[in-house]
Symmetry: C2
Subunit: 458 residues, 2 copies
Amino acid sequence: MGATLEEHLVATRKGRYDSYLAFLRIPSISALPQHAEDCRRAAQWLADALTEAGLEHAEVAETGGRPVVYADWLHAPDAPTVLVYGHYDVQPVDPLELWTSPPFEPIIVGDRLLARGAADDKGHVHAHVMAAEALLTTRGALPVNVKYVFEGEEESGSENLDRWLAANAKRLAADVVIISDTGFFEGNRPAITIGLRGLMYAQIDVVGTPVDVHSGGYGGVVENPVNALAQIIAALKGPDGRIRIPGFYDNVVALTEAERAAIAALPFDEEAFRQRLGVPALVGEVGYSVLERKGARPTLDVNGIWGGFMGEGSKTIIPAHAHAKVSCRLVTAQDPARIFEAFRAYVEEIAPPGVTTTVRQLGGGRPSLTPQDHPATQAAARALEATFGQAPVYIREGGSIPVCASFDSILGLPVVLLGFSQPDEHAHAPNEWIDLNNYETGIRMFARMWDELAVLPR
Amino acid sequence: MGATLEEHLVATRKGRYDSYLAFLRIPSISALPQHAEDCRRAAQWLADALTEAGLEHAEVAETGGRPVVYADWLHAPDAPTVLVYGHYDVQPVDPLELWTSPPFEPIIVGDRLLARGAADDKGHVHAHVMAAEALLTTRGALPVNVKYVFEGEEESGSENLDRWLAANAKRLAADVVIISDTGFFEGNRPAITIGLRGLMYAQIDVVGTPVDVHSGGYGGVVENPVNALAQIIAALKGPDGRIRIPGFYDNVVALTEAERAAIAALPFDEEAFRQRLGVPALVGEVGYSVLERKGARPTLDVNGIWGGFMGEGSKTIIPAHAHAKVSCRLVTAQDPARIFEAFRAYVEEIAPPGVTTTVRQLGGGRPSLTPQDHPATQAAARALEATFGQAPVYIREGGSIPVCASFDSILGLPVVLLGFSQPDEHAHAPNEWIDLNNYETGIRMFARMWDELAVLPR
């Protein structure tokens, strides 16, 4: 008799790490045009890894942007078909000087693997490939049919994915979607994410004089684009933390008393959370708890701002132009396109005279909520408890996975959000890391999840 | 008989340009530490040029920062002594990409010489050296005693000059100071600047989380340093253009009706000015004309702002920190130290909780007003009219020459502000230029000014 799944995973650990690290070494930053070729390289690497794991029809599929990687295994005629989603692209790495080690030279320190993408989302993607490899090697088969869709534009707005999904709807037919791009709750407590926020991402450009002018010679007579931009940004939110864009809250479905009670019942230590974040105080919209504000309420944040002289010392100019990237996290029925229009109209309305202000959209994705009592969600709960030894909590996450809504609207499929990264893993920040125990147990959990799904009544 | 001054200047024109261009090629940016050696090189170049012109005791004098260049000619025992001030340091050059030619590779296009410092202030400094050279060559003497003080820190706050002036007060004894670091009025109309604004320059630093965090995971619960900074900046000025810092206007001496009438009488085409600036509208403090706001009223401008993601595309973070350089132009009796304290106190008061906000001063200088009817001012008016063919107007300039107040307070000397650059010469901006006709006539004007001062009743 061959090895058990566990024996196999123990025996192949070193090769698995080599493979994981090789994947992390490819700087597949989708937001930066200069990394387009790296994204393509990561896609090809992943397609090869899927084939090597025993999966079939591995393909680097063109989308018009960064490619989608597809593979499947469809030899379980009596079992359900699962569509697995993850992404092989990663966030940019700046500010680079804050990384304790180079972001694309992964290193293992104790139980932690540090690298850009270690958690978000290459760790989950790689764990899926390894779970399939282990099952196919030890059993010669998967308990369910699986179709893998690994995207390359998740961190830059998923511009081409919806079109690709629609064009491939027939080939993607399935019973359920497993999206693995979420994490655990505070204290590394297993969690299933049942809510995700949407996103509206925009840039505001304010232009004054054609070139910087002397702040002495012209101060007092021309509008300063930075002052104007600050004024615009300040007017977007009130002192109560409420967003002032007219109509912004129109499609926000209020939390029910039951939902608020469920959130309040989560084991959450607000003071420990504040200390770990390293801020003097937690702040936000008046009338909502930290967890409600973090997962179930919309937000508005400036992601970056720049204009004028940023060097050492003092340069006395009125900058010619100023810029800000502004994004909103959206909830329930808020629509990114409508929110952008409201945002644009409001910014144009409040923009001061004397400068030219323009607003353009850089990205967007709809929010989503998935039912907690769906059989697939409950199968995931059993898989988590069987492998991590603790029943999961059900949470609303603040982040956005726009494709989540697309699977529902384009393919008509229920979605389970099943990931295992730690809540403080520095996704999108310097020194991203993953707990290797979570990664290892996560592989076993995915394998168990297929077993759980295989025995569901159809 | 030897050549006349004019014959000499015509005959030596090419060599003069070679010398001027060599001076402009030295990137003496005082605000940037990496150019410290270049500043020293420019100082030595200037000391050598002064000696070559026939001036004496040329010295690169240590100040603790960028050196002062001193030289004199003191062989006119019956004539007054003039102290000439200019500066050999220049502004930084970014944004470099907006320069049509490299800032330290001066080129002549038609009547214009383009280079950083061509107008502010190397053009004036060089014209002074050339005027002395022409007089000493053609007459063997200057009509007055002259002491030259050329500073190397004017563009970075003149931190060490006051101390150096005080330490050298005896050696600097004079009857009048000529500061050549100002320009003409609109339309290249000869002008004598009788008012200069002061300066308070500060930096605001806002710090949130120790590293950037995911705007999905933490949006709604932590204060965003950029949003906080925008809120602070927006609160510094009201919609009426008035600065909201408590006590800010306490020491502003109101314009008299006569002063307002004199400003209103200046030949100023507001629409042409707006068009040349290239802005949709001129804006500023309610209740004051453009020229009043530009020269006789205090201002507040952001000179630069930065924080978070500034690249192409969309990165979804809450930045860890945000920064702004903010400066105020000051008038009449406003004191930079008091204004900074009021600024700091107000910013700290309005800074939102959830972030740590600090304020530090980067520079400052007092405003100054000089009497229009002083005999030296009237001598300058005659020198301008005799050489440029048009009587000067008397203006208040918006820029700051902090040393102007120092000459009064430390050395007890009257000051005449006598320069000849064009009002739109792009000082502090890309593509700084000087009209070579102004430079050439300026040399003759300085020589004439010494003749005018020599015959004043003592």
